[in-house]
Subunit: 276 residues, 2 copies
């Protein structure tokens, strides 16, 4: 697989960024992780809209021609003859002088890579981590910014305790998200997920699941989630662009209920059948 | 100036990192910014100790031979015939597969650059920013991790409002730090700075200033700082490795007192005269 960088295809071993890139030095940039199925990006529009929103927050939207990104993504997939995989698009503020202040003229670094689609996992175990908290006071909790180190630490702690995934609390002690996924619970016919203000990333799959809840016989609700709400739910699952719907089997070492399997199957098949 | 990378000197235009570096993709790494004066790094020991502490938090300390870093830094400065400047050391977790989980074998990226020492600034104006909050619940607030995007946003907001520097509140509304500096106030013979638990980075200059307060006739206190405490202080200043002591002249558009100039001069000269 080649890497796409600023409009050029490069062999992976030739694909580098300068050591002055602000993405590397300061985490100053954004990314999107997109599933490719049947040669097409799933929900390309949703991903590009979130990227635009992030560029606005970071204030270098004028330096990135987002209208050109859609065609460039499609062309890249086509050039690699990719039918199924994971496409990551990374956008940094490019190079700059020493220090935090961005250069007056931003020349962004645009980067795309393709990776194999990971195998689907059985139901996973969750751990509510203590190593860090999700900062719902930061606008970075609402955009897909490069800094993912809190999430890396959360995942490391979960894995060290034998769990598959981490649940992060926000600074008020409500559950915000997993290390790389949104969380949903099904309870009494409702489909609940933490609101964006609680530090949940506005996941593209999260948005689609919320909009399709009715078709699975569920009433969608954005509501703060306590650890107790997770423990007592009828069903708990995580969502992201790659795994789509990932069921959880236990949390904090205690088995979770899995009483809404048919609703889960319905949501999964709605996601799988939707391409654009 | 050449760049030092994993033990090799490279021309700046040849110094690159692979697009799979986790520093670039996830902000997974650390850095130190050190002042070089008279051909020597100021407080090298303090910087290396903080780096070690950060490596422990990120759990890849075993992959970095920190004993070799001191000699490598000195050799790099010598090779560049640098007498005065800013040395940045960046350490990332190196390359890895897609996703958050680190590779089993970490091969870190080590990087050093030298930049000119910026000119000393007159007293600066401060703005308490609203765009984001410092997350004192994250261990990243206590190590010098690569993710500095919240700080970049803070600085952008301060600059957009005509101020020179941003003050960040933590999630409880106490002042934590500036975008790239610690904050101190002098009040009634006391030298006050926010404690680490409030989200203040354990700055190397901060530590030295606290230890030398007595020599400037001041009693050091680590105590939460409110915006009111800043507004009413006898003197307000910021510290970091490069600017050392940076006086503030106003905050939120209102003039600050500058009644402790002799103590400031004393602290500055103590810092300037200390090399190791």
């Amino acid at each position: 697989m080649h890497v796409w960088m600023n409009g050029r295809l490069l062999a992976r071993e030739d694909a580098h960024v300068p050591v002055t890139d602000r993405g590397l030095l300061l985490g100053d940039g954004l990314f999107e992780t997109m599933a490719v199925r049947n040669g097409e990006v799933c929900d390309l529009h949703g991903h590009l809209e979130r990227l635009k929103s992030g560029l606005g927050v970071l204030r270098f939207g004028e330096a990135v021609d987002t209208d050109e990104l859609g065609p460039a993504i499609k062309q890249y997939i086509c050039s690699q003859k990719a039918t199924c995989g994971v496409l990551r698009l990374t956008v940094t503020r490019g190079t700059g002088p020493r220090g935090l202040a961005p250069p007056a003229e931003v020349s962004p670094t645009l980067l795309m890579t393709l990776s194999p689609m990971p195998p689907r996992r059985e139901a996973i175990s969750l751990r509510i981590v203590t190593v860090t908290r999700r900062n719902e006071h930061s606008p970075l909790s609402r955009i897909k910014a490069l800094p993912y180190l809190d999430n890396v630490l959360a995942l490391l702690q979960a894995r060290a305790s034998g769990a598959d995934e981490a649940l992060l609390l926000n600074t008020r002690g409500a559950i915000a998200c997993a290390s790389a996924a949104n969380i949903f619970v099904i309870r009494d016919g409702c489909l609940e997920t933490p609101p964006i203000e609680d530090g949940a990333l506005p996941g593209t799959t999260r948005a689609r699941i919320l909009s399709w809840a009715g078709e699975a016989g569920l009433a969608p609700r954005e509501v703060s989630l306590s650890p107790q709400a997770v423990a007592g739910a009828d069903h708990v699952f995580l969502t992201n662009s790659v795994s789509l719907v990932q069921e959880a089997r236990d949390c904090e070492g205690r088995s979770l209920n899995r009483r809404a399997a048919s609703a889960i199957d319905r949501l999964r098949s709605l996601l799988m059948s939707a391409t654009q």
